[in-house]
């Protein structure tokens, strides 16, 4: 058997590959978050006691951190999917556009996450 030249152990991470694998990870995180969201709805439907314990978990520092991660993952996946929508129409394949849209998707998901949380706090107060 011939040895195989290293692939992921040696190949440099680039915006292309990093955002591609990020799109998968964010899909997984979003799926888990949706299950948690349903659990929250079920808790609310069951009664005040179960809702209180669910709410306490979500409002704890760890809970809030996870919620921030989940919203960022949701928006990154959304923006990444918009890029894929253009690619499926055979648009935006020039290397400069690939990089510009990649960074734009990253910046937009940070802005959308911050915006969503600001609106959340503004609605509550």
């Amino acid at each position: 058997m011939r040895p195989r030249s290293p692939n992921i152990q040696n190949y440099r991470p680039q915006l292309t590959s990093v955002l591609s694998i990020a799109n998968r990870f964010t899909a997984v995180i979003s799926t888990v978050a949706i299950v948690a969201f349903v659990a929250w709805l079920v808790a609310a439907a069951v009664g005040p006691q179960s809702y209180d314990s669910m709410h306490a978990a979500a409002a704890s520092p760890v809970g809030r951190a996870l919620l921030v991660v989940a919203t960022f993952a949701f928006f990154l996946h959304l923006c990444g999917s918009v890029r894929h929508l253009f690619w499926d129409a055979v648009a935006g394949f020039e290397l400069r556009t690939i990089y510009a849209s990649g960074w734009a998707a990253l910046a937009a998901s940070v802005a959308l996450t911050a915006g969503a949380w600001l609106i959340g706090f503004w609605v509550r107060s």
């Binding site: 058997m1 011939r2 040895p3 195989r4 030249s5 290293p6 692939n7 992921i8 152990q9 040696n10 190949y11 440099r12 991470p13 680039q14 915006l15 292309t16 590959s17 591609s20 694998i21 894929h84 690619w87 499926d88 129409a89 055979v90 394949f93 020039e94 290397l95 400069r96 690939i98 990089y99 510009a100 960074w103």
Partner: protein, 279 residues
């Protein structure tokens, strides 16, 4: 940072590799060992260090990483010049493919500083302080920097890369309009160096059945040729969950093509043509 053309080397030094264990998915006989150090000749002033993957099939030992010091004042400007310098002045056993030394033949494709490029068109000055040179990522290694392309070429043969037509042979050339000829631009220039296929993570994980960007670019080159009338037959051969659709538009291929071509776009064109024929 933004990249305008594939020839641009990222100014970012980090991250150099994905955060996976060094032995992640590496078979026992592919593990790389520490090799030996080859110092520069005495009196050399401008010294550049290269870490080069070595594998000798006759030694019965694992691949190793040798460190070579090159005297830049005695050596040409390209990475290929440095390899030839090492072979003729330091270690004659260093093995690599090369032919045209001007980016036309595609023989000297290798993984330089973690990305694929032709050694003959990459300047030594563009490489990292300690440059790393490996054979094309994920290819079986015959010896040192010589990859085994048998599987990649078999995949190329699978798409039947020749003109297929039911018309009788004409008395003269088969004519094409200027516009039809233009559709081949950006595809006929491919030199089959397999830099893109070697840099494609999808081909790393599913290379047995996924054809990879180089071969799919060639498939599109024939699908879009106005003189070819085997479109349906060609699309039938590609309509498969693995052969075509393992492409997830990662686009490492377009990032690394040493000829500045766009395999990612070619694959998207095939997917669209596949969709359009069902409408």
């Amino acid at each position: 940072m933004t990249i305008r053309s594939s020839s641009q080397v990222s100014r970012w030094k980090l991250p150099r590799r994905f955060p996976v264990p060094k032995r992640f998915g590496v078979s026992k006989d592919s593990r790389i060992e520490q090799g030996r150090h080859w110092p520069a000749p005495t009196g050399a002033k401008r010294i550049k260090t290269f870490q080069i993957y070595r594998y000798d099939p006759e030694s019965g030992r694992n691949p190793r990483l040798d460190t070579y010091e090159v005297d830049l004042d005695d050596c040409g400007p390209m990475v290929l010049d440095a390899l030839i310098w090492i072979k003729s002045k330091v270690d004659s056993t260093l093995t690599f493919r090369r032919s045209c030394r001007e980016g036309v033949c595609g023989s000297c494709a290798m993984t330089i500083d973690g990305t694929n490029w032709l050694a003959c068109t990459r300047f030594v000055s563009q490489t990292a302080g300690t440059a790393s040179i490996y054979p094309l990522a994920n290819f079986p290694v015959i010896k040192d920097l010589v990859p085994d392309q048998a599987h990649a070429l078999a995949q190329y043969a699978l798409i039947e890369p020749w003109l297929k037509t039911s018309e009788p042979p004409p008395q003269q050339e088969r004519l094409q309009s200027v516009a039809d000829r233009k559709r081949l631009d950006g595809y006929y220039e491919c030199i089959l160096c397999f830099c893109c296929t070697s840099g494609c993570p999808s081909h790393w994980w599913n290379g047995e059945r996924f054809l990879g960007p180089a071969v799919l670019l060639q498939a599109w080159r024939w699908l879009t040729d106005s003189r070819d009338d085997a479109k349906g037959e060609r699309l039938d051969a590609l309509e498969d969950p693995f052969r075509l659709y393992r492409c997830h538009t990662i686009l490492n291929c377009t990032r690394t093509c040493p000829k500045g071509l766009n395999p990612g776009k070619a694959i998207a064109e095939i997917k669209r043509m596949m969709l359009e024929r069902t409408l």
